[in-house]
Symmetry: D2
Subunit: 372 residues, 4 copies
Amino acid sequence: MSALGNGKKYRAGVLGATGMVGQRIVNMLAGHPWFELTAVAASERSMGKTYAEAARWHLETPIPEAARGLVVKDLDPVLDCDFVFSALDSSVAGEAESVFAHAGYPVVSNSKNHRMDADVPLLIPEVNASHINAIPVQQKNRKYDSGFIVTNPNCSTAGLVLVLKPLADAFGLEKLFVVTMQAVSGAGYPGVPSMDALGNVVPFISGEEEKMESEPQKLLGKWDGNRFIDAGLGISAHCNRVPVINGHTECVSVRLKKTATIEEVKDALRKFEVPDELASLPTALKNPVVVREEDDRPQPRKDSDVGNGMAAVVGRVRECPLFDVKITLLSHNLVRGAAGAAMLNAELLAAKGFLKNRTAHRSSASEVLARG
Amino acid sequence: MSALGNGKKYRAGVLGATGMVGQRIVNMLAGHPWFELTAVAASERSMGKTYAEAARWHLETPIPEAARGLVVKDLDPVLDCDFVFSALDSSVAGEAESVFAHAGYPVVSNSKNHRMDADVPLLIPEVNASHINAIPVQQKNRKYDSGFIVTNPNCSTAGLVLVLKPLADAFGLEKLFVVTMQAVSGAGYPGVPSMDALGNVVPFISGEEEKMESEPQKLLGKWDGNRFIDAGLGISAHCNRVPVINGHTECVSVRLKKTATIEEVKDALRKFEVPDELASLPTALKNPVVVREEDDRPQPRKDSDVGNGMAAVVGRVRECPLFDVKITLLSHNLVRGAAGAAMLNAELLAAKGFLKNRTAHRSSASEVLARG
Amino acid sequence: MSALGNGKKYRAGVLGATGMVGQRIVNMLAGHPWFELTAVAASERSMGKTYAEAARWHLETPIPEAARGLVVKDLDPVLDCDFVFSALDSSVAGEAESVFAHAGYPVVSNSKNHRMDADVPLLIPEVNASHINAIPVQQKNRKYDSGFIVTNPNCSTAGLVLVLKPLADAFGLEKLFVVTMQAVSGAGYPGVPSMDALGNVVPFISGEEEKMESEPQKLLGKWDGNRFIDAGLGISAHCNRVPVINGHTECVSVRLKKTATIEEVKDALRKFEVPDELASLPTALKNPVVVREEDDRPQPRKDSDVGNGMAAVVGRVRECPLFDVKITLLSHNLVRGAAGAAMLNAELLAAKGFLKNRTAHRSSASEVLARG
Amino acid sequence: MSALGNGKKYRAGVLGATGMVGQRIVNMLAGHPWFELTAVAASERSMGKTYAEAARWHLETPIPEAARGLVVKDLDPVLDCDFVFSALDSSVAGEAESVFAHAGYPVVSNSKNHRMDADVPLLIPEVNASHINAIPVQQKNRKYDSGFIVTNPNCSTAGLVLVLKPLADAFGLEKLFVVTMQAVSGAGYPGVPSMDALGNVVPFISGEEEKMESEPQKLLGKWDGNRFIDAGLGISAHCNRVPVINGHTECVSVRLKKTATIEEVKDALRKFEVPDELASLPTALKNPVVVREEDDRPQPRKDSDVGNGMAAVVGRVRECPLFDVKITLLSHNLVRGAAGAAMLNAELLAAKGFLKNRTAHRSSASEVLARG
């Protein structure tokens, strides 16, 4: 059954469609049961080319047929679609997403710019689906009529918070240390030069530690009807780049609020499942956290694709001499941490009635342009 | 000036000479001002071959001439040398090192077996040189006459403790988190299969976290004349293998006993220098801790060889939201963490008069053998 | 429609089931329309364990359920199956395969031992399917009743010959140079040490150049009813190991017998298709050679999985100053070059009536054992 | 003894000093017995900064003190130096080098632009030192007074031709195949994206095959007093990028003019030595070709630094089924293939009297500028 209820699909546009994350979104839209790709937009360099010409394709499967011939548009909000994904670079995302929301488009963004805005949901459906209730407040605040912005977290935050959620529910969280070993695909293309990546570790990713120390507060916090209340969690993050293609690995030590044995912690992780309503979203997993018992897992090359890249894989759950528990976790930075995260957010919005057929709006495109 | 004072050099043997660390020791002995290589011993597989035949050489410089033709002996304590380095595998090191010490050889070991023994110094000259005072007690306990055992720490502990030392001196240490990203050379040869290493992270190294959580206690603790007093430091370690050839990178968050600004911490690290007596040891550096100011250093491929591999390179000194300070450190696992560590220990022993010319002993080799 | 014609599947055993290639075969059998896995055998180290216990699993998908609980048997020819795949190490494959064939099992081997035997087909269905006509002669020669041996080529030969076939058909082949850059998975597990593979090229693979210079002669040659006639092709091969997980890349310069333009060569490659009878085999592709037009393809990380790993991907078709044409080709060494090659051979045998239900034979297992 | 004969050094400038090759040249000039670095120039982006600010330093040793504070100039020929090295990008090198030569500077270039010019020596001192005799003709042709241009070959050509030279001398060369596996440092910085390099082979390097097929003709050819006579050698090259930091590996099959046994070929390679006059150049080796007997050498990570990176290391000398001999060779692309090659060329020019003290010229700098 389509979310539209009438066999039709929502028409999706992708802003920043030619980049590494944009390509993943385009790819996930091929064969999506609820959405169809009808528009691609990107920076001016690509404008006017077909998508096949403009995108230096990085996936191992070919460019979807539905995308090949689409002409790449610029970032004007006159795209032929019901809503847009944004995989724009942060240098342009802030302004462009506001413009699209103002023009009436729901904007499902992977970019960092609006994540911490006071009225923008930073959303992981399995973690804080109720934060979508901030959308009407946002629309009122910003004088958007039907448009709005929702965001997904940073690629290294996504997997972490997904794993923290069942622990927060079962035991409460006090504080945590996290050290990441992040894949090069997280830096886009051309991204990390091979002279820096080969046989090396780069112990710095600009802005990443700040995101990891702030975004979980909002994700694990509450929307009280007017504003987001932080989770009040202590977080210290160290972020590193390692020579891995896909999959961010994270070593975490957590202090729980309630005492728990290692077995209880594993149990909470293993039993974490989402409500049926969420599990029925096309991209969702019923059990998005997978616990491995082997000594030496998870490993990025072997475990990144678990659950089609939407799972967080946890291993090495063991006691921490300083806090309560040490774990190692892994999630696919381009799927769970970006394209898949945005897709799941869009699906939640569709299921909750936040997406609309924008046919009527399109007739007023010239007005939007006139507005300047 | 030779440590022997008469232009002669101490004659060194190497147990486990064909392995990755043994090769580094053999290489460092070539041209050493105080020591000369006179004997190599290894497991039975290599016995009777020349060193050039037996060693699958891994260094980028050729096998030293002095080593090429030496016939590899077995692990019987009848080697023609004044003392031995031990780079033996832990499966045989425990017993073999005891036998050599009992037979009168000073044993300078890189192996883990005796590190935590109650009367064996676990030694980093820049950190706890006074621990050599345990040697006479060890000799008495174990009824060794002139022989004894000293050890150096695990490769991932070595750099960490070297960096902690000036912080302990200046501010006191309360506790710390450390996450390692360790080079594959630390696993020896053949070691880590390329199917596990390429484009991957393996979040487990057998026994490594336990070593990192215990060895610093002894290294930063005290010898009270009878026993070692632990430093009483809280440590939580996560250890990972990354696709890097040489150089262990470590992300550390430290809680100090005394408040300090980031600038004061950097200052303590930068100003750390060893007494002239130590600095004059051939392998020593006056300033073994190097502080980098760039955002993205240290990096293993670029910084492992700083100070001929004997320095610990520190970067990204910054505030920690949970503890006091976050740092990233790097040291060469085969040099500072193994062969160079043992060499420096032997030099300290030489300077302090613990090495002797064993000519007399050699005549009694048959007695040793008779002993069984 | 099942090859058995009655809805039943042939029961397959796998010799050497725990190795890298054996695992791929086990994985390909899961869900195979014609075959079902009923027995696994391996060297003595694994004997008596379940498959899940014995196999250190290397694929990114989990161990198939049908395989997990199978008890690993030794190499005695009393396995409960209709035919066996052999992915045995060459140290034991020669003898073991003969024993199984003698005991009545069709043996579909990936091992090198019998490839160049005078009466054993070395088979790539798309290239020389008619070579299966050697089977009756083999059975007569060797006094096998229903058993026999067929083999597939070496992993680096497989892709090369598949690409040479349409050129041989269209223009004739005189001679060729080939230089390989081979993935580490070709060496099995633990295989190539990471100390050799990381950031390095190893310009030697034992026995590989000899295989590449001899096997194509047989593959592109003819079976005249009594013996194989070599293709009489001049071949010079250089083989290298590069730090790639899967996919062998090969640079080839070919001298054709008939003059051809680059466009004619590309055309011959592009239009290469197999007869419908072959194309209907479950693992077959109608067009097993894929031609890429981009300057910089094929690339192993991006193109190894084309056609589920059964395609040879060709690119950079251009003029050669010395011979006629230069090309770069790529094929998946574990699929097209090993497990998939064996699977396709077994499917051809099934389609041609060379596989039988061995229920009757099993009753005589004790006789086979008695034979010693 | 200084080449200037009076204890003074020639003052060297480096055009393109901030790039990967420029940095190597700057580094080699530190402590050079004949040359001292007095000027650095680069593209406009770096202009006005100190060298330490402008260069993202890639070497494992620190920036030489003599270079740190030099202010980076633009490419105007008013640099305070006696001659210039050019490591400029080919987009600007052609014009800039001509301007400097016209302004009276000897230009020792690593750039490709003038390599194949009819009156510009393409020079490897050990191979074709006599080609410097073309300089006076060049000066006459181009109306240069004291300035001129000499070039060194492409990084993949350099090692190849060095190894071919003794074979050409001993047996004559008819033709050859060569397939390269080239390090990423050859593409500069940022150069090859890690998304392309990690675990991958890229079978294309723009323009590289053309260079390898043409440059050896000139290098192994003759200067007849008026023009260069090509060697008339048949060459077919395939060029690939592999995930290696430094060191280009090349598989070569050679057809000799005279029959030779493998032992004779090895002997010719081993005995290749340069005249004492050349061997006394500071960067020269007496025996620039090193032959290894192991099956699996040369390897880039282990052998690139042989002879301080100025040697070509040859291994696997064996029979070729199609031509006469197969070999694998390796040379350091940034040293023998770039910075070291230029340095040696400059040393040859110094020794032969082609460098002059340019003090007088500097006074006319304003005229040069006026010339436009």
